[in-house]
């Protein structure tokens, strides 16, 4: 169907059907067009009426009255009539067409209770304005631009339509706006009341009875999707981040990292820079109260994983089913936030000097058991350093070493291969005294990263000396501070722990 004489194009007319019961006594003006009142305007357009007619019209055509004009606005009585400037008070018949320029708008009322506003750079035609008894039928045709339409009060029954090139809006409410302007997706807004928006793909509701403003865009499935799309703040901007994230990402940037955003993974991405090698310096930069830190020092992309079993560690310790994580933190894909407040601010994708990833809680659970994992996303095998900090103090990381011993360390050094690391290291918050006292320590035993103790110092529990693993040699890795052996799969569970999950490597 051609619209306004459009020569071609796949234009479908969109219809807004309004069904509102109105019970207002009709008052309509019966203006004589071309009746010799010395008007020079073409037929169909009349100046402001000075003698309002008091005739009650049961049926017949209605007219639109211009009540507000802003900027450059023109009207013509028909397709073959010349354009005239619009003035306030002007009355137009069916078939009249308005058009606006930049920074312009026109508002008209159609008695007894309808009004429409054509916004800047648009056209709208009053194709039909009829009254048949208690039923009012109005049809507006908008070629492009933005038109607001409203019915002021309940009363007579209305059947009103706004045609535009795309979509269909069935109005159950009374105040709507339709925007249809290439190259943008059409949008229907309900300011009050319920509307149904239908296009070639689907039908969806927008607004609600006595509800507030809602908008559905043509490229979204629903008003909720439109609102969600419009409410997303880009975390590339500093002001869109939490203070903790701001500081953390600023530190990365200060060390030469480049910050971007992965819209697919929906997470800030950091590349390059240099991880902090000194633990004392690292503590100063930690964003949360509880922090799990993964650092690597060569060009690979590593993803930190944190599993959380939110319950008392002793309960988990003696649970026959062992470690049962209820939360999972991963850098991206909506998994970088957990219900208990866990957060990963960014996905560090490596660089020549390695990278850092931190999973942190600002207000951590009072008691929980955490499992650490790591995925080697790309790049060669890498020496990975894992630590857990609570209030700036390193926490013990329990694991089963390659000899099958259940041990603990304050810094876990792992050679991360394509086999990755999952379900291995465990951290208890708060610390379990019996485990702390009875589990042998390997490698880093220094809980306080600010003190300068020799790396080879062993922690001895009070009383009987405990069996310990001899300190490994430093394999040239400046960050290595403990056992750098890789964990093997399917080692026996630590008997002292009574059935906790066994660290296992994961095939890919």
């Amino acid at each position: 169907m051609k619209l306004f004489g459009q020569p071609r194009g796949l234009i479908r007319s969109a219809v807004i059907a309004c069904a509102v019961a109105v019970t207002v006594a009709p008052i309509s003006r019966a203006l004589n067009m071309g009746d010799g009142n010395a008007t020079t305007l073409p037929a169909g357009i009349a100046p402001a009426a000075t003698a309002p007619a008091a005739t009650q019209q049961v049926s017949g055509s209605l007219q639109a009255t211009v009540v507000d004009v802003s900027g450059n606005v023109q009207v013509r009585a028909g397709d073959d009539k010349p354009w005239q400037p619009v003035k306030v008070g002007m009355v137009v018949d069916e078939g009249a067409e308005f058009r606006t320029g930049p920074r312009s708008s026109v508002r008209c009322t159609i008695p007894p209770d309808q009004s429409f506003t054509l916004d800047r750079l648009g056209t709208v035609k009053v194709a039909q304005a009829l009254r048949k008894g208690d039923r009012l039928k109005t049809e507006l045709m908008m070629k492009y631009g933005r038109t607001n339409y409203s019915v002021e009060a309940a009363g007579l029954e209305h059947e009103s339509t706004i045609a535009s090139p795309s979509g269909t809006l069935a109005v159950r409410g009374t105040v709507i706006s339709l925007y249809d302007q290439p190259p943008y997706a059409p949008a229907a807004t309900s300011f009050t009341g319920l509307a149904m928006f239908r296009d070639v793909k689907r039908q969806t509701s927008v607004g609600s009875k006595n509800g507030g403003t809602q908008t559905v865009a043509g490229n979204n499935a629903s008003a909720a999707d439109t609102a969600l799309e419009n409410s997303v703040t880009d975390p590339r901007f500093n002001n869109a981040r939490t203070p903790a994230d701001q500081a953390l990402i600023a530190q990365e940037s200060s060390r030469g990292a480049v910050v971007s955003f992965d819209p697919l993974a929906q997470i800030t991405v950091v590349r390059g820079g240099s991880p902090i090698t000194n633990d004392a310096q690292l503590v100063q930069t930690l964003p949360g109260k509880l922090n799990f830190v993964a650092r690597w020092f060569s060009n690979s992309n590593v993803n930190l994983e944190v599993f959380a079993d939110i319950r008392d560690p002793l309960t988990a310790l003696f649970d026959p089913k062992g470690f049962q994580p209820t939360e999972f933190l991963y850098p991206g894909y909506g998994l970088n936030n957990t219900k208990s407040g866990g957060h990963i601010a960014f996905d560090h994708r490596g660089g020549p000097n390695g990278g850092t990833e931190i999973a942190y809680w600002t207000n951590p659970p009072k008691a929980a058991v955490f499992g650490l994992g790591a995925l080697l996303i790309s790049g060669p095998s890498v020496e990975l350093k894992l630590q857990a900090y609570l209030d700036g103090q390193k926490q013990s990381i329990f694991y089963v070493d390659n000899k099958g011993n259940f041990v603990k360390t304050k810094t876990l050094d792992v050679t991360l291969t394509q086999a990755s690391l999952i379900g291995g290291p465990i951290i208890f918050i708060p610390a379990v005294p019996i485990l702390e006292d009875t589990t042998p320590t390997v490698g880093d035993s220094n809980a306080n990263p600010t003190s300068r103790k020799p790396k080879h110092q062993r922690a001895l529990a009070s009383g009987n000396p405990l069996p310990t693993v001899p300190p490994p040699t430093n394999g040239g890795n400046p960050a290595s501070s403990g056992n750098s052996g890789s964990l093997k799969a399917n080692n026996a569970a630590a008997k002292a722990a009574g059935g906790l999950a066994t660290p296992q490597t994961r095939g890919r």
């Binding site: 930049p102 009004s115 800047r120 750079l121 933005r146 409203s150 019915v151 002021e152 105040v175 290439p182």
Partner: protein
């Protein structure tokens, strides 16, 4: 020979679009009627030419176009840095989104990101900035605009500068 033909076809495909029939000269006048006719005739055009786009920019910014020809418009826009200083395309060539993006970024006073701040609003980065801000649909700087799309972008510019007016109705005052 076949290779020469293929090469010729390839080069022909690389040629930029030219507008076969631009708007008549009488629409470039500055009176209100001519301006209205210009905007709404442009909305019916299949492609927007450089001349039409520059006239539209001057109308939007100054509500009038004092230039009498395309050369004058180019000079006026260059003097205000609304188009790149090295711009030298013909009047009937389709305007690129990148060229228009430079003008829009200046009008909206957009600073942009690092590259745009360092290099200035080049067509490439101005386009990217406008796409990011939602002024442009996803675009590359080499694309062009149809007439109705161009008018839509000017309308969006108007919305950003002057705001979108809500409907005036007693229902919303309840």
């Amino acid at each position: 020979m076949p290779f020469a033909l293929l090469a010729a076809l390839a080069f022909a495909g690389c040629q930029s679009t030219h507008v076969a029939k631009t708007l008549p000269a009488n629409l470039y006048a500055n009176d209100g009627d001519a301006q209205m006719e210009f905007w709404h005739s442009l909305a019916d055009a299949k492609v927007t030419s450089n001349d039409e786009a520059f006239h539209a920019i001057l109308l939007y910014v100054d509500q009038k176009d004092p230039a009498t020809d395309y050369t004058g418009r180019v000079k006026a826009l260059k003097s205000r840095q609304l188009i790149p200083a090295q711009f030298d395309r013909p009047a009937d060539e389709a305007v690129t989104r990148g060229t228009l993006a430079v003008a829009v970024c200046h009008i909206l006073k957009m600073r942009g990101g690092v590259m745009m701040t360092v290099l200035g609003p080049t067509p490439r980065y101005a386009t990217r900035e406008l796409v990011y801000e939602g002024v442009y649909p996803p675009s590359s700087e080499q694309q062009t605009f149809s007439g109705t799309e161009f008018v839509g972008v000017i309308g969006k510019l108007d919305d950003l500068q002057n705001g979108v007016k809500p409907p005036v109705t007693n229902r919303l005052k309840e």
